[in-house]
Symmetry: none
Subunit: 219 residues, 4 copies
Amino acid sequence: MSASKSRRRGRPKIDAGDQREKLLDAAVTLFSEHGIAATPLNAITRYAKVTPALLHYYFGNKPQLVQAVVEERVLARLRPVAETAGQLDRGLPPREAIETFTRHFIMTVASIPWLPQLWVKEVFATNGQLREVLLSELAPPLTHGLRRLVERGQAEGSINPNVDARLVPISLIGLSVFALATRPLWSQLPDCDDIDTRGLTDHVLALLDTGLGVPHASA
Amino acid sequence: MSASKSRRRGRPKIDAGDQREKLLDAAVTLFSEHGIAATPLNAITRYAKVTPALLHYYFGNKPQLVQAVVEERVLARLRPVAETAGQLDRGLPPREAIETFTRHFIMTVASIPWLPQLWVKEVFATNGQLREVLLSELAPPLTHGLRRLVERGQAEGSINPNVDARLVPISLIGLSVFALATRPLWSQLPDCDDIDTRGLTDHVLALLDTGLGVPHASA
Amino acid sequence: MSASKSRRRGRPKIDAGDQREKLLDAAVTLFSEHGIAATPLNAITRYAKVTPALLHYYFGNKPQLVQAVVEERVLARLRPVAETAGQLDRGLPPREAIETFTRHFIMTVASIPWLPQLWVKEVFATNGQLREVLLSELAPPLTHGLRRLVERGQAEGSINPNVDARLVPISLIGLSVFALATRPLWSQLPDCDDIDTRGLTDHVLALLDTGLGVPHASA
Amino acid sequence: MSASKSRRRGRPKIDAGDQREKLLDAAVTLFSEHGIAATPLNAITRYAKVTPALLHYYFGNKPQLVQAVVEERVLARLRPVAETAGQLDRGLPPREAIETFTRHFIMTVASIPWLPQLWVKEVFATNGQLREVLLSELAPPLTHGLRRLVERGQAEGSINPNVDARLVPISLIGLSVFALATRPLWSQLPDCDDIDTRGLTDHVLALLDTGLGVPHASA
DNA sequence: TATGAATGAGTCTTCATTCAT
DNA sequence: CATGAATGAAGACTCATTCAT
């Protein structure tokens, strides 16, 4: 316990013995692969190469493990993104702001391998165990920021008035998270294996920009 | 789905108490609420008010029950839609064809209460148990039809060339199924309780039509 | 299932296959030997020669097993005694009535091998799991009947006025149940192995009659 | 029990934080509340506000902790009482001697809050873990002294000959310890909340003196 | 003296499945 | 057709105990 004073919470675990971090990593990975309810604790401990008793030593029980995963893994990654959304209204023209945010959002979500699946399974699915927590933490800034932006754009005449401002956040998530979560699925389709995150981002931005419609000459 | 279509053996027997159908209904409902893995068979039998032994009598084991649900409930409902998609290339202008199909698609999916959630949980999620079956049955016509249509439109100059034709089917599903599946979620947000299927359809079509961009004067 | 229509509830279990009764017997025996909390369910199932799953099949969980033991074993045996106590006030002289009841009470309790120990462990001990149930069912008639009798006797002058009528029930139980429960203990003491239930009853009655004091010549 | 009596090694060290004593106190309290088998060691350590490892450091394992509790808490309190009983035969008239002892015994037991329950649970109950030790240490002087006294009284004609001298000790304990242990139980009965140790002692002595029978005029 | 980490063994419970009737 | 009885396997959690520090 000499040089390892910085253990627990934060930063890469150079410290070999930090089983707690290993357990959290194992948990978030398996939760995203199989869903929380369908992940037995012993699968997590096998994956982390520790005994089931140790998991209970650190987290007490399954709900508390989930709680720890939420706080130390999920929220730690997503809160910054949500805050970005909350600050969208900084003066940039609405459509540019949305484009910037979308790019940032897709990049972030795509860079966390377990995130899109976890989100689909435990936030978007009814009875999802992260629904309550994540929504109360993340939804307000995210939806509010975007919605205001769209409403402003519509008022100014720079955003399509036929679009429902209230549904834009959900559509944006549907287009991005959803596409990321199903990537293993569609990347198997013919000629689709070369679509990378960049390509996906461009596609989403193109759709958001002018839909299927051809862009104006001036745009 | 004529009344006696789903019965396997013997005469039609109009007998009301068809336990097998009740079990399939119970299964599809609970599967969509909790996911397949997280639904114990005895929950299904309790819901259907029969004994667990009867479920095994009819279906043998859980995988076979799932199989039966897929064939007699899910595919029975979705094959017609997929066929529609397969026939999109009938001469209608691409964008009109896509609009028609989207409208039809959203209406169909929205009219089957258990479908969006089941789809999210067992098709879009990795390890989803319906993935394989549904994809091999439905994906080819659905994706192929749409993709061809988009490619044709792009060739003709009537569809946004910046959009990736290969990703259009997934985007369309993301915009529609996803929004439907998360309806209980966002309908709780402020002022969102009055968005009905019609409103959602209009929003999706507006987005598909011109994105966030303002429609051309001529369009 | 032909001739065994009388299964479940009541009478000797001639019916070989009645595992439920065997489980209750095993439970009441082991509960009395080790206490409820200290009796693992698997000890019960081993004793009854069935699998743990069967115990849960019949009783659901440990609390419900305890509940079943209380109702089908303990109360079934004790309610009649309590009713007897409730009818003590029938006109017999108080001291005779008490003597008759005491004799009956000791005989009954002594004839149920597991009863005294179960009583000591789960009723008299704080945190005893049968306390609440048994007391609310049995204490009222038992204590009330005896207490009234003593009060009547004291009013008539036939019962020692120095005795506290409120404590007579507890003293009677102390003298009898307690002596029965500790029999294995004191029967090991020198020359005590020949004291049978009859001898114990006579001793208790002698004490209750005149205490350590020598009886009146007339008595 | 002088302050440094119970410490094993080293100088007396008046240091307040004597963890070992705290653990013994916690143990004896919880053992009496829940029984030894049903008290997890970590409940004891939580109660004593120390770590489980410390308990093992001091006592090695559970049986040895029990052993320590017996010696340093239970026997330390009860040996003096038993010695008193052993010296009953000092010339006082038997009934007076018994009365004196009973009064002393009840007072002592009543003054140690955890004693009556611990006694009921771990001495009177079969499989009680204190049975062996306490009996071999305390029963001989206690039972022998009382029994001799009663036999002498019966020989002299001053004690009821119908009483079984061998059962008098057990009856005395039944009347007193048992009533004390169940006090929380009967003190809830109507009008019984005002019975204190003194009242209980008087009741027991009245019963022992003349039973339910009315005292002689001369007595 | 004191503790955090770690574990094997065991307890309670659920669940899919089988089988005789 | 339908069911009650029965079970093996596994999952969640507890607990006494050990050990390096």
